[in-house]
């Protein structure tokens, strides 16, 4: 089980990113728990200045814009 945090104030791209993490995880057979972080202070404390940001197992891997599906898979492996 991998713990993934998606940082974003609830914009459309943030939702798309969270959905993409789930669907890509299902494709490669990795179990994930996706947590959406919408609190501005929490987003800033994680070091994310452009949303959506993605953190996998406590490590920030992406910030700003929709990630590419291939990248999402590589983070989850």
């Amino acid at each position: 089980m991998k713990h993934v945090k998606v940082f974003g104030p609830g914009c459309a791209r943030c939702q798309q990113t969270a959905d993409m993490v789930k669907s890509e995880a299902a494709k490669i057979g990795v179990e994930v728990e996706v947590e959406k972080v919408t609190d501005y202070a929490e987003i800033a404390k994680a070091g994310v200045a452009s949303t959506p940001g993605v953190m996998v197992e406590g490590k920030l891997v992406h910030a700003g814009g929709l990630p590419k599906p291939a990248d999402v898979q590589s983070w989850l492996k």
Binding site: F7, G8, P9, C11, R13, K27, I28, G29, Y40, A41, I43, A44, K45, A46, G47, V48, A49, S50, T51, L60, V61, H62, A63, G64, G65, K68, P69, A70, D71, Q73, K77
Partner: protein
């Protein structure tokens, strides 16, 4: 680990060059065909050739494809340029920069750093908590929505590169000066209390290798995304512009929006600030206004007060800024636009 990856196999390096050359050739061919094809189409109109309706229709038929083509190529170019920048890298560059040099850097980076309006608050917090001075942060925040790729592309397409360059210089000056003034006022205590105490450790994102092919893809994505979103606005704007082109007599606007009317810039800002529209809808109108004798400084001041200050953005920013600070922000930007607009009318 078994590979069930659905991502395509990596393309050889030269494919992107081939694709770009092919795309560019198609674009050039389409652009070259604009004049003959639109003339051919217009010849079918059952209208007298010297009428106002004919002038308006001919304008519309030629301008719509031309503007969309030019917009697409500018948006593509900026989409590619933006792959070289990121908000995180910009922040690292600006942290601890002194005033003025920092304002200049922030305003310039505001143009090329990818940034969406729903990111305004995270970006603001991210900058301030990482030690970027408040005034420098504001320079970025002002430049980013005001000088956008759609506005730049449309000005280039409709009114020419000189006006587009003027707009760029105009916008940069406003962002630099307004940010610098806000910095000099030392208003850090006007931030919401929880923002003042927020400290974030700098974070290193893993370096992701971006290939030339990725950059071309990013440019194409930008075209699909932005042109797909604004094309209707562009068509509507050109329709209004076509009406002005066909029906408003030449020079009639010189009296009310010309450079000799000293009050035209304050009036343009006063009307523009509460208005909020898409840059895509407003620029075809700008072109028609200029053609009928309105002064450049007045028209640019109007356009910038419409795009730079928007109520939705202020409401979002209220989460981190006090009302007083928002008022100073809006006031400084409005005065900056006013000053630069007036200066332009005097100088040119």
């Amino acid at each position: 680990m078994s590979e069930i990856s659905t991502s395509p196999a990596p393309r050889p390096g030269f494919v992107w060059a081939l694709r770009s050359a092919l795309g560019l050739a198609v674009w050039v061919a389409a652009y070259a065909a604009l004049d003959p094809v639109s003339k051919w189409l217009v010849s079918f109109l059952p209208l007298a050739h010297d009428g106002a309706l004919y002038a308006a229709a001919a304008f519309f038929i030629y301008e719509v494809p031309k503007v969309l083509l030019l917009l697409a190529i500018v948006v593509f170019g900026i989409g590619v340029i933006r792959t070289f920048f990121s908000v995180e890298r910009t922040r690292a560059f600006l942290a601890g920069k002194n005033e003025f040099a920092g304002n200049v850097g922030a305003a310039s980076l505001g143009i090329v750093t990818p940034f969406c309006s729903c990111s305004a608050v995270p970006m603001f917090l991210g900058f301030v908590s990482a030690g970027v001075p408040l005034g420098v942060t504001f320079s970025f925040l002002i430049a980013s929505p005001m000088i956008n790729e759609v506005a730049l592309g449309l000005l280039l397409a409709l009114v020419g590169w000189k006006v587009a360059a003027t707009y760029l210089v105009f916008g940069l000056s406003v962002a630099i000066v307004a940010g610098w003034i806000i910095g000099r006022l030392h208003l850090e205590s006007w931030l919401e209390p929880w923002v003042q105490s927020l400290r974030a450790a700098p974070v290193e994102l893993p370096d992701r290798k971006i290939t030339a092919s990725d950059r071309v893809d990013a440019g194409l994505d930008a075209v699909k995304d932005i042109v797909g979103k604004v094309w209707l606005w562009v068509v509507a704007g050109i329709a209004v512009g076509a009406f002005i082109h066909g029906y408003v007599p030449n020079g009639v606007l010189a009296a009310i929006m010309g450079r000799d009317a000293w009050w035209s810039v304050p009036a343009a800002v006063a009307i523009g600030v509460p208005m909020y529209s898409n840059a895509a809808g407003i620029i075809p109108v700008v072109e028609a206004l200029l053609e009928k004798g309105a002064a450049l400084g007045t028209v640019l001041a109007f356009m910038m007060s419409v795009t730079a200050l928007s109520l939705p953005e202020m409401i979002i920013l209220r989460k981190v800024l006090s009302v007083r600070l928002i008022a100073v922000f809006a006031g400084t930007v409005a005065v900056g636009i006013l000053a630069v607009g007036t200066l332009f009318n005097v100088l040119f």
